[in-house]
Subunit: 149 residues, 2 copies
DNA sequence: ACCCTTATCGCAACAGAGTTGCAATTAAGA
DNA sequence: TCTTAATTGCAACTCTGTTGCGATAAGGGT
């Protein structure tokens, strides 16, 4: 187990929260930092485990709701009926399209920001807004460990 | 309330079930017929409501599980954390790709079988299998009723 | 038409993720 | 430092889906 990850600059995180006219509470700072350092979409459970017993379940749910409402994070639903959260990159804060990759082996969900999401033609009368694009398969790590067997 | 919908040929449905070496029970026939007539993906709740009080909750869950396991139906997860089911068209029984449209207003999910699902390039090491492609917006009916206001 | 076997069913109890109400706490502006 | 409204923590709840198990009935054989 490595030492605690290098602390991201708390001041910057606090500023980001204050910019939304919200209070910079420990729970918000901790969740924001965790998501900022994560390279994949995290579930409530994963966040709870990562942060230890310092915060109440419900507080974390509310922090996550707040993140989504304020546009700082995306919420996607996982095949296992759990929500996963990832920070919205400042550029695409207006979440028009977002691609994800879900590994069947480890269950983790990765954000594929760099993949362009095509906008398809819809049947008459239908107007599309957001496009959810999720690819299921094996991630790099699981694919590798499978070959080692 | 219109009269009961025209009964699809029960014999054909029963044959379809027998072809899987399974027993043609009333629950299976009813669910199969309902999904066959539905033009969109139905949730367990919608199926339960549509079929009335004749079947147990759990029985319907098990029928749906059986449909998915035997490849007769697809199961997709909805933004509201509920599973939705749609019959797999015999042609694409091997569910390679499938597109859906979810209406924000009425919550219904439509199958867009005719839309081609593009296969994107993945980061190194990742291997994709299934692609879930879901567009969120307003369906034809809700779009229309909104303009009438 | 009647039996058997066993796949299915129905009930009841459970599990997990997420939500709500409300009193206690605390961030942050005055 | 003081005030006050935004947040928190707790407890209880909802909802979707699952599991165990005895009872029922589909369908093949006689």
């Amino acid at each position: 187990m490595p030492a605690s990850p290098p602390l991201a600059d708390s001041t910057a995180l606090i500023a980001r929260i204050h910019a939304l006219a919200a209070r910079a509470t420990p729970a918000r700072i901790a969740v924001l930092r965790l998501l900022d350092e994560a390279e994949r979409a995290l579930s409530h459970r994963e966040i709870e485990d990562a942060l230890g017993t310092g915060f109440d379940r419900v507080t974390l749910y509310r922090v996550l709701d707040w993140l989504v409402e304020s546009g700082l994070a995306h919420r996607v639903i996982d095949a296992g009926r759990v929500f996963r959260f990832s920070l919205a990159s400042p550029a695409n804060a207006t979440h028009t399209a977002h691609a994800h990759f879900r590994c069947e082996a480890c269950g983790k969900v990765f954000c594929l920001d760099e993949i362009p999401v095509p906008t398809p033609a819809l049947p008459a009368g239908f107007s599309g807004k957001a496009v959810e694009y999720c690819i299921t398969g094996q991630c790099a790590r699981c694919d590798q460990s499978e070959q080692e067997k």
